[in-house]
Symmetry: C2
Subunit: 155 residues, 2 copies
DNA sequence: CCAAACAGGACCTAGTTGGTCCCGTTAAAA
DNA sequence: TTTTAACGGGACCAACTAGGTCCTGTTTGG
């Protein structure tokens, strides 16, 4: 069902956490974010590495190092986050990366057919920023404390 | 990368194949479609079963039975096909179906956050029909005959 | 000089999915 | 009435992918 990788979900959480709690972009450490979000530290580190590689966050090495946002949340479309973690946004069906040609090469009726769909999804994902997702989150006080909803939401 | 299931891809191929070659909705058999499309017969059967269950196609049992479209291609949005094969369209991250509550229940910052994203994707997918995908396909004569593109297309 | 934190891998496990097969039921045709 | 072609609905197996962990550098502030 159009599975989004868990890592991408984590990435959004981490990025929002990196967002201005105060005003200035404060540097936060990977262990600190892990403690604050409840996500295991190695996983947080993995996510932050990917986000750094794609330029969404900047890193500071050494003691008292950490991460900070390169852009405000409002300037980060969801599409960028997904692209950073999951790679290019495209509805793929054929096994990509196989490098080999399509087996039903001569008469494959699908070539290029998903392009408009991909474009539509890309547009939709580019139009929503992390700031939008931030406000979309249900306020903590309104959520059931014990056995609440799953993260996902059906359409 | 927003993976679409292979079965869904097959479903589109099969549905387009079921579309009016002539004018009237002719009944086609599962083996016949398999032969015409190059998709293995058991897989075609599986796809058609799902499509029948969701009401996109109608089935006729018995000898000289087969399948036919319930609606014209133009009236079948891609969203319906995906929903028929992959289930409800939603960007899921948490393992759904687990039934258990979210482990970081008290302070999970993601609850409901993907809702606007899901809505945007649903809208995008509802706005594109199989007829649109049909015309989007590159004419056979223009495709490289030997080792052409993959089905997927990056954005 | 030491400690804290990032960088960049390798690696293992588990879950999902793709794909196949089998058997029962239906219904048209011989 | 018998036969045959096709759908219906599972069970089942195998391969792949991704989630998650860990280890070993390298950097840099105290």
């Amino acid at each position: 069902m159009l599975r989004l990788s868990k890592l991408t979900d984590y990435a959004v959480v981490v990025l929002v956490r990196l967002g201005p709690e105060g005003a200035e972009p404060e540097v936060q450490t990977s262990p600190g974010i892990a403690a604050a979000t409840g996500i295991p530290e190695p996983t947080v580190a993995k996510v932050l590495k990917a986000l750094t590689a794609s330029g969404l966050v900047a890193s500071q090495r050494g003691a008292r190092g950490g991460y900070r946002l390169n852009r405000p949340l409002a300037a980060i479309p969801v599409a960028d986050v997904i692209a950073a973690i999951d790679g290019p946004i495209a509805l793929t069906a054929c096994v990509e990366g196989s490098g080999s040609e399509c087996e039903s090469r001569g008469f494959c009726p699908m070539a290029g057919r998903w392009d408009p769909v991909n474009a539509a999804i890309r547009d939709a994902l580019t139009g929503i920023s992390l700031a939008d997702m931030q406000v979309a989150a249900v306020p903590r006080a309104l959520r059931a404390p014990i056995a609440p909803r799953l993260h996902s939401a059906s359409l």
